[in-house]
């Protein structure tokens, strides 16, 4: 009986009662990149994901400018609905974070992403006093799952003032490509 099968799948946790599609694996990953070492790790993770589970990874590069307001989304060509770059403006870090998150959210909608992968400098993802971090703001402003790519050993050593992590650590799995 279909009803019984559906009930069994619900009980096994494969289908949600509120989400009959069961969510499924992510088919479109929006990978947000800056110039940090974590960006390389995120690219590696996204490629590995696409190879293992199928689906596609779409990349958006973020930039910041201390002048101006709001954000720009820049595509391959003028008038392109699919952005490849988000330029955030704002005098303060707080303003730029808000601008950045707004741009990322709009890019996720435009690209119909299932998940946002943050390949950003981990210092940028941490809150600072009165300034909410990009990851906090992003979780608040979208219902999409948010994945934070692992930092690379180089980034870890730079950020924490320690020596490079050994190759055996999980971080080493997604080496920059």
């Amino acid at each position: 009986m279909p009803g019984t099968l559906e009930k069994n799948r619900e009980d096994a946790g494969l289908v949600s009662r509120s989400d009959p599609q069961g969510g499924g694996l992510f088919r479109c990953l929006l990978v947000v990149l800056d110039d940090s070492a974590a960006a390389g790790a995120a690219v590696g993770l996204a490629r590995e994901w696409a190879r293992t589970f199928g689906g596609e990874a779409r990349f958006v590069r973020i930039e910041e400018r201390p002048k101006g307001l709001g954000h720009d989304r820049v595509g391959h060509r003028d008038q392109s609905p699919e952005p490849t770059r988000v330029v955030a403006h704002g005098r303060t870090l707080r303003a730029r974070n808000h601008s950045l998150v707004e741009g990322i959210t709009q890019a996720a909608v435009a690209l119909r992403a299932d998940v946002v992968v943050l390949g950003c400098d981990h210092r940028r993802l941490a809150s600072r006093r009165l300034c909410a971090s990009v990851r906090d703001l992003l979780v608040r402003s979208t219902d999409l799952p948010v994945m934070v790519a692992p930092a690379t050993p180089a980034q870890e050593s730079t950020e924490e003032g320690r020596g490079p992590a050994s190759e055996a650590t999980p971080r080493a799995r997604y080496a920059p490509v």
Partner: protein, 152 residues
Amino acid sequence: MARPQRRPHERGTRLFETVVAGCTDSRGADQAFRRALELTRAAGGTLHIVCALGDSHDGPPPHLPSEFRHTAAGAGRTEWHMYQLRFRAESAQVRVETHAVLAPPADAITKIVADEGADLVVVGTGSGHGTRQLSGVPKAVMDSVSCAVLVV
């Protein structure tokens, strides 16, 4: 006892071979569990379910007859919830291990991630009142673990 870290080539080629899910009896945690289950199933890996036990850990009811003490009826709320999650994972034919850790939630997850050499941690946002917000647990996990973290 901490397990020795395996080198990448010894860990196989699966993307998410070891997935850790932090679980509580909340809606966000249930979403996280379902996502973790899907990913682990697709990857053919092992799902580690972590439940943190606080200082006020709810053990078996004091007046429970001794013959029921080591059954589901005697399990505390946390153990019972973990038992249910384990059953769901096994029903979905996913390899599963459960860990009840006497520590705050973020510390419990971090400990299991380090011990098992996890590739991915899946956590809920921790909010349950309409708007989604990142609570202290996922924040602390993201700040302390060295693998990818998925917040659902």
